[in-house]
């Protein structure tokens, strides 16, 4: 664009930078406050002295979280869920997107298959029937209750399908002439080409699994099976009980940390994995947009 150096333009730029700077600040200050509270002494937090910098710096709240108990247990459940869930999601998405990327001449009944999947995007049975099916399937208190009901994310599958369609057909044709079957073509030729698309949908799958909390609450009767976000949800209401349950000398514990610092520390630890993958998310995000917006 052409540069413009008038006074009005300069004033606009100053105002613009100020607005952008303040808005961005508003987006991260709550997290700065959370971090400050989590590293502060309980007395300073109770007195309302902590704003954006820790007062009476202590790591007690983090030690409490990492000493064991429910936090680590739930962190482990979430880790299993993310790994298993993402693998299952990606395998099913690829296995579904590849045949559906073909024309109806190459895969008979493609339209029917497509309708079968797309209908689930338009209409769903709602909370109660879905819950009852999981109960009937005997998945209550099993990690599979968090993975199988959403095992095939239709929207991401369509993104992947559109991506496969955008690849030049000649690649596959030459392999077919060489006598390779569909499964061989998929594994040997398509998978390497699909890497950027898989990275995009994979990252969003990881974030989705990590952030889910409601299914854990309704499908797990035993809190030991809660994924991290479900556990964090329960401590929004009852962190004091978790501190009581810890068994150590309660009054001594209370002198070093309180409900607010303890909760802040665990909430912050719950965001760390997201912050770790965030740079990658950003890198792939625009790509995901491009993949998702096939116009025709």
């Amino acid at each position: 664009m052409v540069q413009d150096k008038s006074l009005g333009r300069k004033l606009f730029l100053i105002a613009n930078y100020s607005i952008l700077f303040l808005t961005s600040l508003f987006c991260i200050l709550p997290f700065v406050n959370l971090l400050a509270v989590s590293f502060s002494g309980s007395a300073a937090v109770a007195a309302g002295d902590v704003v954006f910098w820790p007062v009476d710096f202590t790591t007690k709240a983090y030690e409490f979280a990492l000493e064991g108990g429910q936090f680590l247990q739930s962190f482990w459940v979430s880790t299993q869920r993310v790994v298993l869930g993402t693998i299952v999601n990606l395998i099913l998405m690829v296995l579904t997107a590849y045949p559906l990327s073909k024309t109806k001449e190459k895969v008979m009944g493609r339209g029917i298959y497509m309708g079968f999947f797309v209908l689930t995007m338009l209409f769903n049975g709602g909370l109660i029937p879905s819950y009852l099916i999981v109960v009937k399937a005997g998945l209550i208190d099993s990690i599979w209750s968090l993975i199988l009901p959403g095992a095939m994310p239709v929207y991401s599958m369509i993104i992947l399908m559109n991506f496969i369609r955008s690849l030049p057909e000649e690649i596959e044709e030459s392999a077919t002439i060489d006598g390779a079957g569909p499964m061989q073509i998929l594994i040997r030729i398509l998978l390497p080409l699909l890497k950027p698309a898989l990275a995009t949908v994979g990252l969003f799958t990881i974030v989705g699994h990590w952030n889910s909390w409601f299914d854990g609450i309704i499908y797990m009767n035993n809190p030991d099976n809660y994924p991290l976000q479900s556990y964090l949800q329960t401590l929004l209401l009852s962190f004091d009980q978790i501190m009581l349950r810890a068994g150590t000398d309660y009054s001594e514990l209370l002198a070093q940390m309180n409900v607010r610092t303890g909760r802040a520390a665990q909430l912050f630890l719950g965001t760390v994995p997201i912050l770790v993958v965030y740079p990658f998310l950003q890198k792939y995000f625009t790509k995901g947009l491009v993949l998702g917006s096939v116009k025709g």
Binding site: L20, S24, L100, P129, L186, T271
Partner: protein, 296 residues
């Protein structure tokens, strides 16, 4: 011919796992919807006594339920409107920033809240919006009396609307910014020669070229009109604000899962699914007409 069939068989086999899983977890709940017309008894399962439309008649007579519909629409519509205007304005302002590093930094900061779960966000909100939280402390410095953001029925919906837009506007910003980058710089150069200033360029070039994306995003968000944000509201509401904060989804959860009134819960869920389905289909039709967009 035989060889062709053999090749096709592999494609069909690839689809089998997803079809089975989607059938169990998405289609069987459709069948489960029959309990909306029954007086569900866990012992009899889906063969409970038939009661016809009785559950619906019962529900629609309840003022409490009608209020949840109003609350849902009220909050979701303002969320949708804000969710369109705020990111468009922010993207336009961001687009005026010439230095790529600044642009990227602002974008990175405003996009972070999007990737964190409402559980984490609610934990932060409860802390900063408390009567002695940092928000009220700052307002106090300006001479404003403490505001009960989460406890007052008249303020609660607006707390939900504003915090939802706050959490989500980074996504829209990225989408619109991607669209803005796609505008041909030659158009601006031509306009400059014709004597159009930045403001006129924005009105006559940028906005019209951005319009299809704005319309597309608006139309696609239509499907969310019946969702006022369960994750957010469930984690932030309390009995004190049920009158203005209770939405269809939270009501179904309390009635259906917590109180185990499966039939009533399913009836409300079915009502919601039907309306949502109509809206989603409508949005897809409109998206195709207005922006030539189709999902597959």
């Amino acid at each position: 011919m035989l060889r062709k069939l053999r090749q096709q068989r592999a494609f069909h086999l690839m689809l089998v796992p997803s079809i089975i899983l989607v059938f169990i977890f998405s289609y069987l709940p459709f069948y489960g919807l029959v309990i909306a017309f029954q007086d569900y008894n866990p012992g009899l399962g889906f063969h409970s006594p038939w009661v016809g439309m009785e559950n619906f008649e019962h529900v629609f007579k309840q003022e409490k339920f009608l209020r949840t519909i109003w609350n849902t629409l009220y909050m979701s519509i303002f969320k949708l409107l804000g969710g369109i205007f705020v990111p468009v304005i922010f993207a336009l302002l961001l687009n005026e920033v010439m230095r790529a590093a600044f642009k990227r930094t602002f974008q990175t900061l405003v996009y972070i809240p999007n990737f964190l779960s409402w559980v984490i966000m609610a934990g932060i909100m409860i802390d900063i919006l408390a009567s002695d939280g940092i928000v009220n402390t700052f307002l106090g410095l300006l001479g404003v009396k403490p505001i009960s953001f989460l406890g007052s029925p008249s303020i609660f919906p607006w707390t939900m609307i504003v915090t939802d837009i706050w959490k989500g506007f980074g996504f829209g910003t990225v989408v619109y910014l991607a669209a803005l980058t796609g505008i041909d710089p030659g158009l601006y150069e031509a306009a400059l020669i014709d004597g159009a200033n930045r403001w006129k360029q924005t009105i006559y070039i940028t906005l019209p070229l951005l319009a299809p994306t704005i319309i597309l995003m608006a139309v696609l968000s239509l499907g969310n009109v019946m969702n006022a944000g369960f994750d957010q509201i469930y984690n932030l509401y309390s009995p004190a604000v049920y009158e203005s904060g209770d939405i269809i989804d939270t009501y179904v959860y309390r009635l259906g899962i917590v109180q185990a009134q499966y039939s009533i819960g399913t009836a409300i869920g079915l009502f919601k699914s039907v309306i949502t389905c109509i809206l989603v289909v409508l949005s897809l039709v409109l998206a195709k007409k207005a922006a030539g967009y189709k999902i597959y």
